[in-house]
C-alpha cells in the first residue's frame, strides 16, 4: 500500500493530537509517523504518515478535514516534498578502535559525532527515512544501545515547482 502524507493545520488546543490519532485507530490504520510543530501564527501543524489505499486515504482526508479544530488539510505527494528525519544514536561501550570505525561509518553516512566519553559514542544522523533505517540496521544491536528518532518532518515543494 502507498504511503500517504497529510499536513494538517489545526488549532493548538488540548487533545488535538488525541483527536487526530483516534480517527486512524478507529479505521484500523497504524500511523507510521506523527510530528507536530507550532507555526508562527500560533496554529499547530501536524504531519501524519500512514499507509492506505486510495479510497481509504480519501475518506481519511475528509474525516480529518471535518474535525472541528482542523483549519486545513494538505495531501502531500512524497515525491513533491522534502522529507527528513533525525535520529540520535548512543552506542554500547566500545573499544577505541571499534569506536573510531563506527565514527567513520556514521560520518560517511552524513551523520555527526556529538560526544565520545568512556567508550560510548553519541551521534546525530539526519536524512531520509530509508537512509536512517539502513544505517541503524548496519550498526545493529551489537553496537547500538539506544536510538531516539524524531519521526518524519517535511515541507512541500509545491510552490517551488509552480514557480
Amino acid at each position: 500500500m502507498k504511503t500517504r502524507i497529510f499536513s494538517v493545520l489545526c488549532q493548538n488546543v488540548p487533545g488535538v493530537m488525541m483527536r487526530m490519532s483516534r480517527y486512524f485507530t478507529r479505521r484500523q490504520i497504524n500511523i507510521d509517523s506523527i510530528t507536530v510543530g507550532i507555526e508562527p501564527t500560533g496554529l499547530a501543524r501536524i504531519i501524519l504518515m500512514f499507509k492506505a489505499d486510495d479510497s481509504l486515504a480519501e475518506l481519511m482526508c475528509r474525516i480529518v478535514e471535518r474535525s472541528e479544530p482542523v483549519v486545513d488539510v494538505e495531501v502531500i505527494e512524497p515525491e513533491r516534498s522534502i522529507v527528513r528525519e533525525i535520529a540520535l544514536l548512543k552506542t554500547k561501550k566500545l573499544g577505541e578502535k571499534k569506536m573510531w570505525q563506527i565514527a567513520q561509518q556514521i560520518e560517511k553516512a552524513g551523520g555527526r559525532v556529538l560526544e565520545t566519553k568512556g567508550g560510548v559514542l553519541i551521534a546525530e544522523l539526519s536524512g531520509e527515512h530509508d537512509e536512517i533505517e539502513r544505517v541503524i540496521k548496519e550498526l545493529g544491536e551489537e553496537v547500538l544501545k539506544e536510538v531516539a528518532r524524531s519521526g518524519q518532518v517535511l515541507i512541500s515543494r509545491e510552490e517551488i515547482c509552480e514557480d
Partner: protein, 560 residues
Amino acid sequence: MVELTGSKALLEALKAEDVKHIFGIPGGAAIPIYDALYDEHEIHHILTRHEQGAAHAADGYARALGKPGVCMTTSGPGATNLTTGILNAYMDSSPVVAISGQVPTTTLGTDAFQEADMLSVMLPVTKHNFIIHKIEELPSVVRLAFKTAITGRPGPVHIDLPKNVQVNKADLKIPATIKYEKKIKLDPSTEDVRKAVHMLADAEQPVIYAGGGIVWSEASAELVELAELLEAPVTTSLLGKGTIPENHPLALGMLGMHGRMVANLAVTGCDVLLGVGVRFSDRATGDVRHFAQRAKIIHIDIDPVEIGKSVRVDLPIIGDAKRSLAAIIQGLRAHVKRGRTSRWLQRIKKLHEELAPRMDYDEVPIKPQRAIKDIMGVLGDDAIVVTEVGQCQMWAGHFCQIKKPRHFISSGGLGTMGFGFPAAMGVKVACPNCEVVNIAGDGSFLMNSQELATVVENKIDVVSCIFNNGYLGMVKQWQDMFFQKRRSAVNLGKSPDFVKLAEAYGAWGDRVTRPSEIAPKLKEALRCGKPAVLDIVIDPDEHVLPMVPAGGRLDAPILT
C-alpha cells in the same frame, strides 16, 4: 465588561443562546453553577433522576424543537452517566449541549474525588468537546459550543467546567455573536445540480430516499415538491419518518430491515435513487452489493464524510438538503416530462395494495399491529410519537403513519433501550401543547423508568404505552429465527406490575388486555391530567415481520 463569576457568566451565555430549559442533576463539582441557578428566573431547571435521563431528555427536546437541548451534571459519575445519551445524540445528529462540573484545575489528574478525564471520555462521542481552563475563555467557548452543535450537520458538544473556574471572578463580556470558523458548504455546485437534473429527468423508475437531514434543514416542502414534480415515490429512513406525510400517495413508508415491503422492492428495482440527508445505514440497506443495484445513486449530504461511506455513489452532492433540492427543482422544471414514470407508479401502486400490512386483528392477547392502529386512531396529526428501542420501535416505524417532520422521535443509530421515556419527557417540555406518546417495550421502559418521578414532580404529562410481552422481544425474535428458539436470558417474567409502578410514583396507570379497550383507555390516559402509563398486554409470540436478516437482500425478506 462586568465582574462575573464563572457560574454567572455561564448562565448569561446560556441566556444569550435563548436557553429556557436545562435537564440535569447537581453534585459536588457543580454546586456553584446550581447556586447561580437558584437566583435565575429565565432558565427552568428540570431535575431528572439519572443523568442518562437528562441527556435523552435534552436530545428529545432538541429533536422536537429544532434547537439545542441542554443537560448538566456534576463531575465523575454524573458526567460519565451522560455518555450513552450523548453518543445517542451523536449517532442521530442531534444538537445537545452537555455541561458538566469538573474538579478544580489545581487537582486535575490527581485522581481527586469524583474526577473523571471527561475530555478523553467525551472525545469519541461528541461532535466537539471543550475543557475550560481559564474563566476568560468561558463566554466564547459556551457560545461556540452552541454554534458548533447546530451548524452544518448537527451534533452534541460537551463542555467540562472545573469548579475553580465556576467560582473565580473576572471582568467578562458575553460576545453578542461568535464567528464559526469552520467552512460548511451549503450550496451545491451548479455542475452537480445540472448532472442530477439530467439523471432525474431521464429516470423512468426513480425513488427518493429521505432522512433526518431533511428534518434539520427544514426541507420537507421541497422534498414533497420534488417528488410530485418528478412523479417519484419516496421512502424514508427511521429518522426521516414524517418528512413526507405518510398518507401522501407517493409515500412508501420506511425502508430497511423492518421497512415496508413496497419500499424495499421499489429501491431494489429503481433506476435512479436520490438519497437526501441519509447515511445509508446497514439496517436500511441490507447487503450493499444488492442495494439498488440497477440504479444510479445520487447522494445529497452536508457532511462529506457520509459520501461513499457505505454504498457506492454515482453522483455525490455536498450541500444543504433544502438548497440542493430547491436547485434541482428549479433545473428540473424545464426538463421533466409528465407521465414519464406512470408505468412505474402503477407498478408501485399495485405492490402497495398487495403488500399493505394487516393491522385489524381482534385476537387476545392483543396483536401489536392492532395496538398501533388504535393508538394512531386516537392521536391527532399534531401528536408526537416517541419510541423506545426493539420490537416496539420497529412496529412503530413500520405501522405508524406520521404526517409531519419532528413528529416521530426514535433512537436510530445507537438503538438505545431506555431512550424513549426520558426523550418523551424532553419532547413534552419543548412542545407542552402537543400530545406526546412513548411507544415502549417493557424491557426498554424499565431502563429509565425512574424518570416517572421527574414527570410527576414537574407535571410533564406524557403517556407511555408499554407493549408488554414479558420479553426482551427483539433478542427473542432473533433467537427464535436464527438460534433455534434457544431463548437465552430474554425472559423478563411478570415483574413489575406497571400499573402499580406508575401509581407508586403518583402517575396514572391502567392495564389493557382486550383490543376494544385500547382506544378508550388511551383517551382516558391523555385526559387524566397526569403522566400516564398504559400497560398493553400483547402477544408474546408476535415477531416484527417482514424482516430482512442482517446483511440480507432487501427483496428477500423473511415473511412468516
